[in-house]
Symmetry: C2
Subunit: 357 residues, 2 copies
């Protein structure tokens, strides 16, 4: 019996700490019946997913295979379109569809020369979720929504968040500067509540989130779910070069650095020879052109060729927490079970019980 819980107090029933199992949904018997307990938020309903976890649509990294594996495990898988032409992205969409019947999405990179054509393709293919970063998707929003897509936009500041809400975006992903790749300057902890206070649409937290502790912290800040990138790079279903995964697994707390700050395009990467070269050139006041030339093709070099010394190994500050390769299902189960344990611990703290002592 799966009870409807509207307006009910059953959420406060004492819970055992969850054992291993599939995700966090499980049956609990209590006086008066039995019900399914699971952490669910409005994000789950909006996107038609089981758990409020989105996998970041990282260029080169987020293939149809990875997206399908995340969606199959109950999260929202994302394909990263990056700079790829529409037919290449379409193949990934078909790949994902061949592997899952669950919803997934595509991240569109607005600096790509193919933005228009990729959008056309997504409308044709009726991809259920489209996320956008690095630019204002305003003019495409009505078309995408007409085609039935939910539009989700990455934001790193309050002003952009407000503009995108006005443009009709459905969900905002507030991305803290601790995440990998292209970043803003505000960290997740102060960014999320500021954006939540500024808009009326659901906000997802991204940046610095690794496990159930991060998910519950995000919910506490007012988010309705999380987006995670770095941990999914090391998923077994992720097809990046093994060297890339190893670089993340071997990373320590201070292993990432930010290049590109002087030119206004900060990018977080794992420190390596390329990163040191960038920082050295920046210190010497190198021109924007010189720095941009140095960056060309470097993400591909790391992801595809496994050159983790002279390639760009984009990764977030949680890299140090990633200790091994796992399946997407293992990652999502760990996050959800961990979150249940944190919620149980927090419910104890309200009475000052020994759990926190």
């Amino acid at each position: 019996m799966n009870l409807s819980l509207h307006g009910n107090r059953v959420s406060t029933v004492a819970l055992p700490i969850p054992g291993p199992g599939r995700g966090s949904a499980r049956r609990v018997t209590f006086i008066g019946g039995e019900m399914t307990l699971a952490i669910r938020t409005v994000l789950c309903d909006l996107l038609g997913i089981e758990y409020p976890i989105i996998q970041g649509g990282m260029a080169w990294v987020a293939t149809g295979e990875l997206a399908a594996a995340v969606s199959e495990a109950g999260g929202l898988g994302m394909i990263g379109a990056g700079n790829a032409p529409p037919e290449v992205v379409r193949k990934e969409v078909h790949k994902a569809r061949s592997l899952t019947s669950k919803p997934f999405g595509v991240n569109v990179y607005f600096m790509s020369p193919y933005t228009e054509q990729v959008i056309d393709m997504l409308v044709e293919e009726k991809v259920p979720v489209v996320s956008t970063g690095a630019g204002n998707p305003g003019k495409y929003v009505p078309r995408l929504k007409e085609a039935g897509a939910k539009v989700m936009s990455l934001v790193a500041s309050v002003n952009l968040a407000k503009r995108l809400e006005r443009a009709g975006v459905d969900i905002l992903v507030a991305e803290g500067m601790e995440c990998g790749g292209h970043i803003g300057e505000i960290a997740t902890m102060p960014l999320v509540p500021q954006i939540v206070d500024a808009v009326g649409i659901p906000v997802v937290a991204a940046g610095g989130i690794y496990d159930g502790r991060g998910l519950v912290a995000a919910l506490a800040l007012g988010a309705v779910g999380v987006q995670m990138g770095t941990r999914f790079v090391c998923a077994k279903e992720c097809t990046v070069h093994p060297n890339y995964k190893r670089a993340i697994i071997e990373a320590r707390d201070r292993s990432t650095v930010v290049t590109g700050r002087p030119t206004g395009h900060p990018v977080r990467v794992i420190e390596n020879k390329l990163a040191r070269q960038f920082l050295e050139l920046e210190r010497k006041g190198a021109s924007k052109e010189e720095l941009e030339a140095l960056g060309v093709g470097k993400l591909r070099a790391a992801v595809v060729d496994g050159d983790v010394e002279y390639g760009s190994v984009m990764a977030g500050q949680v890299s140090a927490m990633v200790k091994k390769e796992e399946t997407c299902r293992e990652i999502i189960e760990d996050v959800m079970n961990g979150a249940e344990r944190v919620l149980a611990r927090l419910s104890e703290i309200r009475a000052g019980s020994p759990v926190f002592r």
Copy 2:
């Protein structure tokens, strides 16, 4: 009747959302009796305080008056010793003692020329809590503990956290790069769980924390409490120049910048003419000496003289959330009542109830 809750399940009793009142402690009737509910953690017992909130011991800003007001309101007030000679700090200790009988602490700045003498004075005065930043307090720890003080150290990396645990420190304050003043590079969200996993002593979260959402997020990440700086700068009992408070109250999400990165001493300040001068010199590759010379006396200029254009207005990324002057009691009540509301909301989410929908 104040029940002992050891091993009890009463923490899961359904709670009304707290109304205005003194802090979060209040009586709730349930089947079998009545009890006092309050968010308490091991930090409260360790420091002898009511609420797990520490006020940052900011140099020039954190006077005996501010520390006493925070302690009187149930948190832990801190005096910032900065570069001041021991007799000046002693006066602040006496000031605090004249205003409160509750515990408070002093933050010792290890770059000060008076470190030794300030430590001697703290031992003499039997100040109950001593916090340390910018250096390893290792050699002073046994003396301070012998004198009955709890030693609390600011850390921004896992390695230093482990070293300080070995040195005998009682509490670590994990400080994310979103906080004001001298900072590290790791943000609070990824830093706190990494430090919690690395050590066995209690960890307090600092950086990016403004209200009850931040407190509960910190607890979710595994911290036992929070340290807040920026919001307390705008406390009514804080004696900084009104211009300094106004600069924080008028700040927006992207108003702070980080100077000092090229010289390895990053400092977060509100962007003003001085900050732009710093950043410009850094871009030009100015020498460490030149940059250091520019910084001399600038914090004092802002705090004491109110020069918020050519002075250093140290403040964190939560500045945008600070909207007004409040008493320390109002600040602490707001954080604790907000945290209760967040915990109530999170307990609902476990059953997917409408609160999060």
